[in-house]
Amino acid sequence: MWAILSLLVENKPGILFKITHMFRSRNFNIDSISVGVTENPEFSRMTITTFGDEKQIAQIVKQLDKMIDTLEVKELDEHKTVYRELSIFKIKLSNANDSMEINKLANAYGGKIHDVKKNSMMVELTATPDQIEAFQELAKPFGILEVARTGVAALQRSGA
């Protein structure tokens, strides 16, 4: 199963290394990770998505919780969570209609257009990982030149 973990950690050098090292040394895998400072500069928020069975996810949470530099570790319920990922696609333009078609597709997914050139254009898309992957599938026939993704950032809804 896919899990979204939200961590509040000390904003100190070396913490990201310790967190990712725990995943490596205990034979778990990080699917995506995003890190940024919080409203309080003493803390960073890490959002990690990972795969595993129920027992593995529980063990990941416990091992993260045990680390002295983590202040809070939560497994988020994706139905009660706002989670988004920013992605940027560079897509090939081969035919005259391509830019219009891609524009339509991007609009359908709430994307923004950047850097339209003769042979390529860029689409910025902020969405859930599923939506980004769906967009990627549809954009594939045009020819995807490059993709950059940030990994998921997530917060639980209030009262959830």
């Binding site: 950690v9 000390e10 070396g14 290394f17 310790k18 090292h21 725990m22 040394s25 027992k55 529980a58 063990q59 416990k62 091992q63 919780d65 045990k66 680390m67 002295i68 530099d69 983590t70 202040l71």
Partner: protein
């Protein structure tokens, strides 16, 4: 030294602050080896009340600190320089982590401005040690040193103990700052203890009382939290037989009628047998390691498991449990005792399970085939037990002798037996014995050794002699890497590769060359005399006992099999 009396601040160097802070923690001894990057802290030994004990290798310094820590239950301290000094100490740190031993390792580091420049004797010890430390500090300014020491000692010895590394760049050792030594401090992400959930203890009690074939499995956590009395009270109240893990060996007196000894790969036959027949286990302070439980799945379906541990991450890590009680196991057991006392429960000896347990124990006492020769491992270790006072501390090296010690050396006084059980570090026993003797100078300390394992840190003889730390090294000498040889005999059709030590060196002469006492014992009479001589000597003694290189450790549960598939002596 300038003293600001108003703010109680003192201006001093980072090195001086390190020693001052350690004195405040009650440190009396440091095991270590100097080098370029820790010279400023070494210079402070001239001006403080901490004794420096010089080792001949940093790994041994760490093992000495580890042995000291396990016996005193306060962090043992070791010092090493940067680069190779730090990497040498790493095996010792990993050993302490695997066995949850309290330790503070202090390494020198190249100056801050040189970090990352591949400087001479630079190693990224913070990065390298990350998975094997409980926590690590690298003060970047002298003023950060006192808090690192205070927090480091606290973290090392609280909750589930473990090693803490303090890596101090040379310029931070030399640099001056106004120092405050805080009594109070906060580590906001650290929660070493939980209060045991009383409801779960209640459930555990019900489960135990409703089972027909209960057993207690006592692990190393029982020893770490000194829950000896509590364990014995519960076992006797409920008349439940007690097996242990190897790390938990000696948490319960092994001459007690309810004691069955360690389970596991080289567990006692009766312990493995009863473990596989039980319907409910109270597991105390154990991580259900593969060496202890084999493939547990084989019988866990009918086994109800109650798991008590201070570390919440151990619950469900290796073993799914029916009831979990998170908290210091001594506290949890005390709650359990109170509940049982309220219920006025007192089991009698008259039940079928206990009768069966006793019969099983008797059967194996009489029917386990031992080596027929005069100098078989069982006879040798039983002789040692006969002559060694019960309060003596015993450490072991790693290998066949260690497993024979598990099988044939009964620990009578709880908390007097220590071994590298998790990492299985050859060379641990001797330096750990030295550390143990420093922690408890008034008792005898014996390292039950094999020739292969002892040779890894045998140069600690220099420390034992020069620092006047008279421990006894008791070598069951089969002139081979015996455990590997046993596996080659068993699993590789007797293709013996890389295991023959060819009687090199002569351990009596080796001991003598260091100024220690060396005695060879080739018969039981000689052994008797050798042990008595060693116990009455005030110098470190090596007893070299030649044994049959073909003697195997049996019973044996092969890796990947279950305890019920135990191989017995034929």
């Amino acid at each position: 030294m300038a003293i600001d009396l108003v703010n109680k601040m003192e201006t001093m160097t980072g090195a001086k602050a390190l020693m001052t802070a350690m004195e405040k923690e009650g440190v009396k001894e440091v095991f270590g080896l100097p080098g370029g990057a820790n010279l400023p802290m070494y210079d402070e030994f001239a001006r403080c009340n901490i004794r420096h004990i010089l080792t001949r290798h940093e790994q041994s310094a760490a093992h000495m600190a580890d042995g000291f820590g396990r016996v005193s239950r306060k962090p043992g301290v070791c010092f090493a320089t940067s680069g190779p000094g730090a990497t040498n100490i790493l095996t010792g740190i990993a050993t302490a982590q695997a066995d949850s031993a309290p330790m503070v390792a202090v390494t020198g580091q190249v100056p801050v401005a040189m970090i990352g420049k591949d400087a001479f004797q630079e190693s990224d010890i913070i990065g390298m040690s990350n998975p094997v430390v409980k926590y690590a500090f690298q003060p970047r300014d002298a003023s950060e040193v006192p808090a690192a020491v205070r927090k480091g000692f606290f973290i090392a010895q609280t909750g589930r103990p473990g090693p803490v590394l303090i890596d101090i760049p040379k310029d931070v050792q030399i640099g001056e700052a106004e120092m405050t030594f805080p009594d109070e401090f906060k580590i906001r992400g650290y929660h070493p203890w939980a209060d045991p959930d009383v409801v779960n203890v209640e459930k555990a009690v019900d489960m135990l009382l409703n089972s027909e074939k209960p057993v207690i499995l006592a692990g190393g956590g029982t020893i770490i939290s000194s829950a000896f009395a509590e364990l014995q009270v519960i076992a006797e109240m409920l008349m439940i037989p007690v097996v242990t893990t190897f790390k938990g060996k000696g948490s319960f007196p092994e001459n007690h009628p309810l004691s069955l000894g360690p389970i596991g790969m080289h567990g006692h036959a009766e312990a493995n047998k009863i473990m596989t027949e039980a319907d409910c286990v109270l597991a105390i302070g154990t991580r259900f390691s593969d060496r202890s439980v084999g493939t547990f799945e084989a019988f866990e379906k009918r086994l109800k498991i109650i798991h008590m541990d201070v570390d919440p991450a151990e619950i469900g890590k290796n073993q799914t449990t029916n009831v979990a009680v998170v908290g210091d196991v001594r506290v949890s057991l005390r709650i359990m005792i109170k509940m049982l006392a309220k219920k006025a429960i007192k089991q009698t000896e008259e039940n079928n399970w206990l009768k069966h347990v006793k019969e099983t124990k008797e059967y194996w006492k009489e029917n386990l085939k031992l080596h027929p020769g005069e100098m078989g491992a069982a006879k040798i270790l039983r002789k040692l037990r006969e002559l060694l006072p019960h309060q003596s501390i015993v450490t072991t090296e790693v290998g066949q002798h260690q497993m024979w010690a598990s099988l044939f050396f009964d620990v009578i006084q709880p908390g007097t037996f220590f071994s590298s059980t998790g990492l299985g570090t050859m060379g641990w026993g001797f330096p750990a014995a030295i550390g143990a003797k420093v922690a408890k100078p008034d008792v005898h300390v014996v390292d039950i050794a094999g020739d292969g394992s002892f040779s890894m840190t045998e140069n600690s003889l220099a420390t034992a002699v020069l620092e006047d730390i008279p421990v006894i090294v008791f070598i069951l000498n089969n002139s081979s890497l015996g455990m590997v040889a046993q596996w080659q005999r068993t699993f590789y059709k007797r293709r013996m590769i890389g295991v023959d030590q060819q009687h090199c060196p002569d351990y009596v002469k080796l001991a003598e060359s260091y100024g220690a006492q060396g005695i060879r014992a080739q018969s039981m009479d000689e052994l008797d005399r050798a042990i008595k001589t060693a116990l009455s000597s005030d110098v470190a003694t090596v007893i070299d006992i030649p044994i049959d290189p073909e003697e195997d450790v049996l019973p044996f549960v092969a890796p990947g099999t279950s305890l019920s598939e135990m191989v017995l002596p034929s």
